[in-house]
Chain length 316, copies 2
């Protein structure tokens, strides 16, 4: 049994790495890394009872924590590489830790992410990961590169995660409900998709607060407005089978935590994007266009309307 | 008034930076930095009610959080450069945030540290900083470089912080008590001292869990034992004026959170070290020697003895 923080780190978090960029890993006052290319750095915190139900298994928390950070790097077109973990635990619960560790490392190994350091403290359950990815020498994908006339794309299907969370305690194990719950519990970060967008996308963001809120960030950063067409937004058949279309659209527009990508690209890149996504896990769906107006306009069958909710804010 | 997380970030955490290594700062899915030299990365979390009394001012928390991380980089001989902040707040308390921000940035500006990103979430008060520092191309100071025969040094004075914490609610405002409390509340990280040790020290660590525990880490990592002489350990006159010498030594050996440096160096570097510390805020005190035995021996007037407590463990 792990008795203290040093044993916990050694048992659940220290894994060997063959990454030549890791000059010093876990076990000193700091890790040391080396890269000749620019490094993208992101950090995300999950709080028990806020970002996940407090009784949920460690496995899910480990997966979601890394997935959320991977999703941020994907939106930068960065290739994930290193990670640190700052974990605050109420107690040493080995079952939970063992689950967390496997949920986390299953995903980490898939993308060759090495854990290089962290901090372990006692307190209310809160987990923070910091992820480092490598960018191309002369191309960083940001939120601010969108231009009037660029087309707006999203990956995957939207709204599933928020719908899944809304039925998380539902004991019904129909395939549709399990699918939606799983989209909340085990989101798939669009890592390869983000790297594939290099040189094609003008701007990108990951959808964590809902399409309206996140596309709004691209608009603000790029100094554009946008028009999106509701009927073009990709919805899963599972979401459509369980909810009336208006409710499904509300989940898709403002539900959040989809961890899909929203990106923009000039019309000239349309066929290159189609080609690039042929070999990937998901399609890219054209849902609208950046324009010179202020703000974001949603259209249903060509007619503008006012969406019910605009997205997730932590303190309102 | 700041209404949501975006306004909080913009009001209290977004500051301009002129650092040419910051290609992208706060406001995108990730920050992007560039460095041709190796980067040291450390992270430290402070939890309300665990690492600081829950009613304490934001100013103190902001200072301590950055100081703890700066201290880790100092022990690597790294020059601090960038920082990210993952903050979990119960509510938007503008007085607390304003204090946190000034405590944090006063120290950040002193060492030219730029805040490049972070995450803001709702939940029990927990603050995590991740600090990045630049190492020399071909020299990284670690815990593992100590050799049998190397001498052991500590900076500053030990035990003040633990003593200060033990009287934190004491209303007596004598100079001595205020000094000790301040050593806990506003520790001074030994940043310049760490950089000065480049090329001289064989191993280093910052004293966060108490001298015995932290010197023990150097011994384990370096495959050595150590002997330290109690009467050589630097104690402040304030600590000695308030506590009997045995109690003062217990604070010094196992009290923790001093954020002083403990380092080793071959005897041939003795005069160079003395010279280097002439222009710095603190002296380096020779307190013992690495030897070929296993474990750590404390001597009082040359006679070995067993210390009462060995240091701070988070979960025992």
């Amino acid at each position: 049994m792990a008795q203290d923080e040093f044993e916990v780190i050694s048992k659940y978090f220290r894994r060997s790495t063959e990454d030549p960029g890791v000059l010093l890993g876990i076990g000193d006052d700091a890790a040391v890394v080396n890269s000749t290319s620019p490094i993208a750095i992101t950090t995300d915190t999950l709080v028990s009872g806020v970002h996940f139900p407090s009784g949920i298994s460690g496995d899910v928390v480990g997966h979601r924590l890394l997935a959320a950070n991977l999703s941020d790097l994907a939106a930068m077109g960065a290739k994930p590489r290193w990670c640190t973990l700052a974990m605050t635990l109420e107690e040493i619960d080995e079952q939970w830790l063992s689950g967390f560790s496997s949920g986390f490392f299953n995903l980490a190994e898939k993308y060759d992410v090495s854990v290089i350091g962290g901090d372990l403290t006692r307190g209310p359950l809160t987990v923070t990961a910091q992820l480092f990815g490598i960018c191309e020498e002369d191309y960083v994908l940001t939120r601010s590169g969108g231009k009037v006339g660029d087309e707006i794309y999203v990956t995957g299907s939207l709204g599933d995660s928020a719908a899944g969370l809304s039925i998380i305690d539902d004991l019904d194990v129909s395939d549709e409900k399990l699918f939606l719950k799983n989209r909340f519990l085990r989101p798939v970060p669009r890592v390869e998709e983000g790297v594939a967008l290099r040189g094609m996308a003008s701007a990108a963001i990951d959808i964590s607060d809902g399409l309206l809120a996140d596309l709004g960030h691209i608009c603000n950063a790029s100094g554009c407005g946008a028009v999106i067409d509701l009927e073009k937004i990709p919805l899963s058949k599972e979401l459509c089978s369980l909810y009336p279309v208006e409710e499904a659209h509300t989940f898709a527009l403002s539900g959040g935590e989809d961890f899909e990508l929203c990106f923009t690209a000039p019309p000239s890149k349309r066929s290159a994007i189609k080609e690039a996504f042929k070999n990937l896990d998901t399609n890219a769906y054209l849902v609208g266009k950046l324009d010179g107006q202020q703000g974001l306009i949603c259209r249903r069958e060509g007619i503008p309307f006012e969406p019910i909710s605009k997205g997730y804010l932590h303190f309102t």
